[in-house]
C-alpha cells in the first residue's frame, strides 16, 4: 500500500499534537509495510527518516504558521494568499501513483482535494482540531471553517481524534457520522524523574489552552501549599497577558514562565513535575496529558478534553471551576496514596495508547476506501 500523507509539521519542528501524531503514525505505518511519502513545508531544522518505507519530502518554503490568527484584514489577506500558494505548490509536487491521500487538518485540505480530483485517489482527512477549538468557541473565523467543511465533505473518510471531535464535526460541519472514524492518539513514553513540588502547565499559550484558569487555581493553592512551584511552559500570543495576570494575582513569585522549551527540556519538566494540569477550553484530544502521565505525573484534565473520554486514571474538572481545580491540586500534593495510585495506574493504562494501535486502526480506515 502506498500513501501520500500531507502534513505541515514533523519533529523536530513542532507546534502541537499534530506533529507528534504524524511522527508516531508514519513510523508505525512504515513498520507495518505501508509505504508512506510524507509531504511537508521546508523547515529550518533538519528532518528525515531512517526507515526505508518512509520518505519525508520537503516541498518548499512557506511563512505560514498554522496556529497564527490573523487579526487585521491586511494580514489576513497575506495569510490566505500564502496558504493558497503553498497548497498549489503541494499539488505540483505530489507525483506518482498512490492508493490513498491522507491530510491532517485544514492547512493542506485544498491540496488534498485537488489531488483527489486530479488523480481519482481516495482522500482521508484526520481532524486534530477545528476552528471552533482553536478559537476557544469565541469568534471562530469563517474562512477556516469553510475550508474545513469542504475538506470534510469531499474526503472519502474522516478520522477524528476523539468522540468529542466527532460530535463537533457532525453538529457544526454537518458531516454524516457514518463517514467518521474515531482513533484516539498515543504516546511514546517519557522517563520518570525525581519528583519536585512542581505543578505544570505545558502547551501553546493561546485562548484554547486555558492557561489563565491554571493561574487562578495556582493563586488558590498558594496559601495552602506555600512550597509549591507553578510552571507555565510554552509560548503563544497570550504570554504577555498571562505574565500580567500572575502579577495581578500576587503569585509572580510562585510562577515560572519558561518560554519555548527544547524537546529535551520538555521531557525533563514532565519527569520532575508532581502534577500536570490541562485546563483547555476546548481540547479535541490533548496528547500532552498522555505524555505527562507516561512520565508518572498525575494529570488533571478538562472534562471535555477528548483525552479524558478515553482515559480512566486521571482527574477531571470543568476548566472554569478553578476552586475544584485547586482542590484537586492540593489533594494530589497532600495525599500521597492518591498521588501514588494515580501515577501507578496511569502508567499502566498508558501502555494501551501505542502508535502501533493507531497505525492498525488507520490501516483499517485505508482498507475501507481503497
Amino acid at each position: 500500500m502506498r500513501v501520500a500523507m500531507i502534513g505541515w509539521e514533523y519533529p523536530p519542528f513542532k507546534a502541537g499534537g499534530l506533529a507528534t501524531h504524524c511522527y508516531g503514525l508514519t513510523r508505525s505505518l512504515a513498520d507495518k509495510g505501508v509505504r508512506v511519502d510524507f509531504y511537508m513545508p521546508k523547515t529550518k531544522h533538519a528532518t528525515g527518516s531512517d526507515k526505508p518505507n518512509l520518505n519525508i519530502i520537503e516541498v518548499g518554503e512557506t511563512e505560514i504558521f498554522p496556529y497564527d490568527r490573523p487579526d487585521s484584514k491586511e494580514l489576513a489577506g497575506q495569510f490566505f494568499e500564502a496558504v493558497y500558494k503553498y497548497n498549489d505548490l503541494v499539488v505540483s509536487r505530489v507525483k506518482g501513483k498512490y492508493d490513498a491521500i491522507h491530510c491532517h487538518d485544514w492547512l493542506t485540505m485544498k491540496a488534498g482535494i485537488s489531488i483527489k480530483e486530479k488523480t481519482n485517489t481516495p482522500l482521508i482527512i484526520t481532524v486534530h482540531s477545528t476552528e471552533y477549538d482553536r478559537s476557544g468557541w469565541l469568534y471562530p473565523n469563517q474562512w477556516f471553517i469553510d475550508i474545513e467543511r469542504e475538506g470534510m465533505e469531499k474526503a472519502d473518510r474522516v478520522i477524528a481524534v476523539s468522540h468529542f471531535t466527532k460530535r463537533v464535526i457532525v453538529e457544526k460541519y454537518g458531516i454524516n457520522p457514518d463517514k467518521i472514524s474515531v482513533i484516539h492518539n498515543a504516546v511514546y513514553p517519557i522517563p520518570e524523574n525525581h519528583k519536585k513540588d512542581i505543578v505544570l502547565f505545558l502547551g501553546r499559550l493561546t485562548i484554547q489552552k486555558g492557561a489563565e484558569f491554571f493561574l487562578r487555581a495556582a493563586q488558590k493553592v498558594k496559601d495552602y501549599e506555600p512550597d509549591t512551584q507553578f510552571v507555565v511552559a510554552g509560548i503563544g500570543d497570550m504570554l504577555p497577558r498571562l505574565i500580567t495576570q500572575a502579577l495581578d494575582l500576587g503569585i509572580s513569585d510562585k510562577v515560572i514562565f519558561t518560554g519555548r522549551l527544547t524537546e529535551e527540556e520538555v521531557k525533563h519538566i514532565y519527569g520532575i513535575s508532581s502534577v500536570y494540569v490541562m485546563p483547555s477550553v476546548s481540547e479535541p484530544f490533548g496528547i500532552t496529558a498522555l505524555e505527562a502521565i507516561s512520565a508518572g505525573t498525575p494529570t488533571i484534565a478538562s472534562k471535555t478534553a477528548g483525552f479524558s473520554e478515553a482515559f480512566n486514571n486521571c482527574l477531571r474538572v470543568d476548566f472554569w471551576d478553578t476552586d475544584e481545580m485547586a482542590n484537586k491540586i492540593i489533594s494530589l500534593i497532600r495525599y500521597k496514596p492518591l498521588h501514588k495510585t494515580l501515577a501507578q495506574e496511569g502508567k499502566r493504562e498508558i501502555e494501551l495508547f501505542t502508535w502501533d494501535r493507531v497505525a492498525d486502526k488507520t490501516i483499517e480506515v485505508y482498507n475501507g476506501v481503497i
Partner: protein
Amino acid sequence: MPSICLYFEVHQPMRLNRFSVFNIGNVNTESTYFNRQLNQEIFKKVARKCYLPTNNLLLELIHKFDGKFRVSFSLTGTFVEYCEQFIPEVIDSFKELFKTGAVDMIEETYYHSLSSLYDELDEFEEQVKMHSKMIKKLFNYKPRVFRNTEAIYDNRIAEKVEEMGYKGIITEGTEKILQWRSSNYLYKPINANLKVLLRNYTLSDDVGFRFSAKLWPGHPLTADKYANWLAKSEGDIINLFMDYETFGEHHWTETGIFDFLKHFPGEALKNKHLDFITVSEAVSRFEPVGEIDVPWAISWADADRDVSTWLGNDMQIACFNELKNIGKTIKEQGKKDLLSTWRRLQTSDHLYYVSTKGMEDGDVHKYFSPYDGPYDGFINYMNILQDFKHKLY
C-alpha cells in the same frame, strides 16, 4: 431434596456531600457531611421502583402459596433510618411481611461497616448490638442467623459471632474455601460451633447479575427454566442470596424481572422435591457435612471474592486507617457526640467507591458510585475525614 433459601440484602448508604480541602476546618456541624437531598432522592426512587412493589408482590405470593413460599431479609440500620425519615410505609410493609410468619430477619452490623476487620472487635460487637436492638424494636424478634457486611467472613469473625449467640452465619460459596465441595450443604467453621450457609453464586448471579444480559446464553431467563435448573441441583439447600434492588432497580420492570418473580414460586413448587425455607429453618433442619477453614477474609464482592473491593489500593487503606485512628481517639476521649457521625462514615460503600479495580468489576463500581471515579471518591472522603479530625481536638 434441596430446599430453596431465598435471602435479600436491603441497604442504602449515606452518600456524602461534595467537600473540598477549602472546607476542612470551616464547617460547624458534621451534618454537612451527608448529602440529605441526594440520599432522599435516591431512596424515594428505589422505594418506588423496588421496595414497595416487591414487598407487595412477595406478600401476595406468600398468601397465594399459603406460607409455602418463604424468604429472609437483612435490613441495614441506615436503610431503616431512611424509611423512617422519608417513607414510613416501606417499613410498615416489611412488618406486614414479617407478620405472615413466612419471613425471617437476619442480623448484621447496623452501619453495614467493615468493623469486623478492625484490630479489636469491640466496635463490631457494638454495631451488631445496635442492629439487634433495632430489629427487636421493629419486629419484636431476635435473629438467629448473622450475615456480615457483603458476607465478609474469616475464622476470627466466625468465633466472635458464635460467642454472641448466633446459630448460623452466611458467606460466599467460593472455591477458595470449598475446593471440590458443593455450596449446597451447611458447613461448620473449623474453630467455632456455628452453621455456615454458603451462597450458590452461580444460581444467585443468574438472577442478580445476568437476568437482563442479552449476550448470556441463559437469556431470557424464565421462571420455569430457572425452576428446572434448581430442580436438577443436588444437595440439601440452594442458597440464593442477592441485593433486594435486583427487583426493579438493577433490572428494570421492562426486563420482565417482576414477571419472573411472580411465577417463580409456583414453578418451583411444581417440583414435589423442592420447598422454600428461611435461614433460621435452614440451621434447624440441616447438619454440617464438613468443616471450612478461612484464615483470610473472603466476601461475595467482585470477582476476587475477598476484601480487596474495599482495601485493594493505597487510597482505600489510608482512609481505612484514618477512620480506625479517629475511632480510637473518640473512644479514648469519650466524645460520645461524635460517635454516630464516625459510625456513619464507616459504611463500607464509602470505601467501595474508591476501588480502582478494572474491567467488569469496575463497571459495577461505576454503576453504584455517586462520584466521577475512584479518585474523586477518595478526595471527597479523605477531606471529610480530615475535617472530622479537626473536631477531635
